[in-house]
Symmetry: C3
Subunit: 138 residues, 3 copies
């Protein structure tokens, strides 16, 4: 069994953002030399997500509006977690969107359906955040 | 390390549906000959889910009602993604229910608790949709 | 390829609770002797979650308040699943928080970011519930 590990670093200019990381994940898979196996990609921070969905900016705006309705950022005082922090909403939003994806690796490629792309969802940005890619197989 | 890959195809008669795929996943595991490892099962489309929950029709009706409350299908105009599309709600519903499950394989079986069963959750059906099963182990 | 399997048993004194299981998962990883691979940790019951987030009690209270808003326990009669059961809300809450986590194993350790810890989220407790840990690698 082979394994490969890589970190990506992202620093978004806004508190919330959706960043397409599909190319970086494909690059890591190519570097690994692994042809058959499983790829894990996860946010290493608890106010961010890695998820698979559509590369369509209107949908990303819908995510933003919808998550703000489900778990509004403000007023900050509505959350027990806030005080020293102001990011309780980011922890909740990340819970909806998920921490990680697991992707099949087949013939050296991400084994994706026609519209699947990998996104980093940032909910408390403007600072360096890390994403982990771990691949096992052979 | 052995690996095995199989696709299922589902075409639901309604826009939304919950389909028990546990038997098909068990069949794929049997075909693989893998006794110890990990099984990944994911929707290959971004308006559908694979998830584990109870095989109880009342609960599935509760999922339907609840997801319609969290991310209503209509009016279509409430979503930026819609226009050429009418399925923004399906992308959101799938985000709540999840894209994939990862299941332990022990002694050649899905290593499940007493009530765990695998479902395909369709949120934009009436056409062929694919599900991927990937198993690694030995 | 090596594999290792372990069950944890938890019995919470309240219907809902968040239990930090990071130490138990680390102990299982140490017992496995696996240095490189993937660790799966999942609830074996369909009214509970395993998830990764912050070890902060204010945030856990926020989870409780937020999940009760998204999928209230009462009135029980609002859910088709209830009747013999009273736990439909627990199935919905678990859907938001997720069934499982998959964690990279690197150099014999959980490959975590600075604040990641693993929690068991109980939504229908006061009885024995099981958690599965499965590790594959070498």
């Amino acid at each position: 069994m082979k394994s490969y590990r890589k970190e990506l670093v992202i620093n978004t200019q806004t508190r919330r953002a959706y960043v397409n990381i599909t190319n970086e994940v494909e690059k890591a898979l190519y570097e690994s030399g692994i042809k058959e196996g499983i790829l894990l990609c996860n946010a290493m921070h608890i106010t961010a997500s890695v998820f698979i969905n559509d590369n369509e900016s209107g949908l990303h705006q819908d995510f933003e509006n919808w998550l703000e309705k489900l778990a509004p950022e403000k007023p900050y005082s509505q959350y027990n977690h806030n005080g020293f922090e102001d990011n309780a909403d980011a922890h909740l939003k990340r819970s909806v969107m998920g921490r990680e994806v697991v992707v099949a690796v087949t013939n050296g490629k991400l084994d994706f359906g026609p519209w699947e792309e990998i996104f980093y969802g940032e909910f408390d940005g403007k600072r360096n955040k890390r994403i982990l890619i771990k691949i096992i197989g052979e």
